[in-house]
């Protein structure tokens, strides 16, 4: 373990983990309300980033129509992606209610493939390098930390900003879920569809709403990710890292998704701080090894509920 690097990696890991946590939150939201694991969340994140990019005038053809500052583009993209989430739920997932697990899994996988192709067709396959970032990549905070490499921790301002936005989004989301009537309805639906229906909650509406909100969260996550690594088709594979985060924290737990995301970010970053080159190379699969360990030791995750099969 390369100790001078550790404080830096812990800091970067937590900041990255915040973005992963936000994406994981979207997956958990859909799972909690409809028991569907959304394998297509990565594609929604990517699509959200692309739509935002388009609204900022990134593409030459789009720039003639829209050329908005980042905050306005994000707002517009959020509205668009909320509708996209609604459409997806209505057209693709509604017919899947009551179907066996394999059908639902394959539906979201097919959706993922379809969205991949659609994004490539609409926006092109080359990575875009003109995503507007609030700070330039060399804008950094230098925090003095005795014992670290060069006795400082370097944090990119874009990363810190992204982390703050992610935290604010997660807090807003949790508040919505806890304090509003709609949030209460969603929690009730997550517990028991039948009972929720019997007290008058329109369960299909809740499904649509949860997919719409997941689309919004995905867009935010996509924007934050794109501010770090740019807009490209590989965003959907980057999000693959959120799946172990979800399982680590527990499929049906929001705090679990947040904690899982941060842990995954930490683990991937700390692997980079090792002296052993094999471990450094393993940073990309470290979340998956963690996933396997979690599945063997505690399948329901840190905060999840144990699935009890009743006859």
């Amino acid at each position: 373990m390369n100790w001078p690097l550790v404080p830096q990696q812990i800091a970067t890991g937590i900041l990255n983990g915040g973005i992963i946590a936000l994406i994981a939150l979207g997956i958990v939201l859909i799972f909690k309300s409809s028991e569907v694991f959304n394998f297509a969340q990565g594609q929604l994140v990517m699509l959200g980033a692309y739509v935002t990019w388009w609204f900022t005038g990134g593409s030459e053809s789009g720039a003639e129509i829209f050329n908005l500052p980042l905050w306005a583009a994000v707002l517009l993209a959020i509205i668009v992606m909320a509708f996209v989430g609604l459409f997806i739920e209505r057209l693709a997932l509604r017919p899947m209610t009551g179907q066996p697990l394999l059908s639902i899994v394959l539906m979201t996988l097919g959706l993922a493939a379809f969205l991949d192709g659609l994004t490539a067709l609409t926006f092109g396959i080359e990575p875009k390098n003109n995503f507007p970032a609030p700070f330039s990549p060399s804008d950094v905070f230098r925090i003095p930390f005795p014992g670290a490499f060069n006795d400082t921790i370097i944090l990119k301002k874009t990363l810190v900003a992204a982390f703050i936005v992610a935290v604010l989004a997660m807090v807003a989301f949790m508040l919505f879920f806890r304090l509003t009537r709609t949030g209460l309805a969603m929690r009730a639906t997550a517990e028991d569809h039948e009972l929720a229906r019997s007290v008058g909650i329109k369960v299909p509406h809740i499904f649509g709403l949860s997919w719409a909100i997941a689309g919004i969260i995905a867009t935010l996550g996509g924007v934050l990710l794109a501010s770090q690594v740019g807009v490209s088709l590989s965003l959907s594979t980057v999000v693959l890292i959120a799946f172990p985060a979800v399982l680590l924290g527990g499929l049906d737990s929001f705090p679990g998704a947040i904690v899982g995301g941060i842990i995954v970010g930490l683990v991937a970053a700390l692997a980079q701080a090792s002296k052993v080159i094999e471990v450094r190379n393993a940073a990309e699969i470290a979340p998956y090894i963690l996933l396997l360990i979690v599945l063997v030791i505690r399948p329901e995750g840190l905060f999840g509920q144990k699935r009890i099969e009743r006859i």
Partner: protein, 355 residues
């Protein structure tokens, strides 16, 4: 759906009841089919033969997936990774041990089966969706391992090694048409294998695990043992398929079509063809491969029509078509084409009372 037979068509002894091919015309049909298949290089063009080669290794892998997902009900997202293992083992055996491909194939099958066994171990602790995530982890970890370990053997960061031309004594299978015969013979063997599994105790145990594992356990079916067996057989067939693919492409590597995309493609082929049926892998593979070629065709035409959008046209139609067709099948025909074929046959037999 039970098998409806016309009046007068009944079995006179147990052997007849158990037979796969019961009537004389069925023997004729099988013979004719084999004749047509094995003389395809003579009457078919290059496209048909090379597509048949591609179909062969896909169908074998999907037959394996059918045992695991269709018969035993365990979702696996890692079939392409096991193909990769089989391909590498076969390539290494031929290159370094100097053995012929026909000895390397069973070795590759065994090796891939063992790897599948290892990644099936979580089935002791988890089931259903969580097991699917374990196979997803396998699909990510195995290609990474081939790129980052044993670099001299496995090609290192390029992740690719070359495979020599398959030989049998002095015969070199250099041409696509010559390789076609290997593919078809192996496909025949695996089809017979899978057909037999589905008709015996093993197959019935698998189905019981899928339908109600609690009841199966109560009846004495050791769940863990049978799930492991299913993983082994599925990975073994994937290994055979991977070895075939490696030898036909003359190279094997992580970028050559052994990724998560291919795993999902194979799952989709299985579902479109029909889970849990022996005809399913054939139908599904044919439909999806033809669809892919159609998408390529449309893509290239669109690239010609819109040259400034050529790159995106060439690559994006495949996933769009596949995703759309898969989703449509899941909504309207979730039991697959094989089930639709059964319904058609039943409607024909029941005519004019079919509706």
């Amino acid at each position: 759906m039970g098998i409806l037979r016309p009046a007068g068509d009944f079995d006179r002894d147990y052997k007849q009841d158990m037979a796969v091919i019961r009537k004389r015309w069925q023997w004729l049909a099988v013979g004719l089919g084999l004749l047509v298949t094995f003389t395809a290089p003579l009457w078919g063009n290059a496209y048909i033969v090379s597509t048949a080669n591609r179909l062969a290794y896909f169908i074998i892998a999907i037959q394996g997936l059918n045992i695991l997902t269709g018969y035993s009900g365990q979702i696996s997202l890692g079939q392409a990774a096991f193909m990769l293992v089989g391909g590498y083992i076969s390539a290494l055996v031929v290159t370094y041990a100097g053995l012929s491909m026909f000895i390397a194939l069973p070795v590759a099958a065994l090796g891939a089966g063992v790897v599948g066994l290892i990644f099936g171990l979580p089935s002791l602790r988890v089931k259903g969706f969580y097991l699917a995530m374990a196979t997803l982890a396998a699909q990510i970890i195995i290609p990474w391992l081939t790129r980052h370990s044993f670099k001299e053997l496995l090609g290192g960061s390029s992740g690719r090694i070359d495979v020599p031309v398959p030989t049998l004594g002095s015969i070199e299978f250099n041409e696509v048409t010559e390789y076609f015969y290997i593919s078809m013979v192996v496909l025949l063997i695996t089809t017979l294998l899978v057909l037999n599994i589905s008709r015996t105790r093993l197959g019935r145990a698998f189905v019981s695990v899928r339908d109600n594992d609690l009841a199966a356990e109560l009846l004495g079916v050791n769940l863990f043992s049978y799930k492991l067996r299913a993983f082994f057989i599925a990975a073994m067939l994937a290994g055979v398929a991977g070895a075939l693919k490696a030898h036909s492409q003359r190279a094997v590597g992580t970028e050559l079509g052994y990724g998560l995309t291919e795993s999902i493609l194979m799952l989709g082929m299985l579902v479109i063809g029909g889970l849990g049926s022996n005809l399913g892998p054939f139908l599904g593979a044919v439909v999806v491969i033809l669809l892919e070629d159609l998408a390529n065709l449309i893509g290239s035409q669109a690239a010609l029509a819109f040259p400034e959008y050529a790159p995106r046209m060439l690559t994006s139609f495949r996933p769009i078509f596949f995703g759309l067709v898969l989703m449509i099948f899941l909504i309207f025909e979730p039991r697959g084409l094989a089930h639709r074929w059964q319904l058609i046959k039943a409607a024909w037999r029941l005519r004019p009372f079919s509706r």
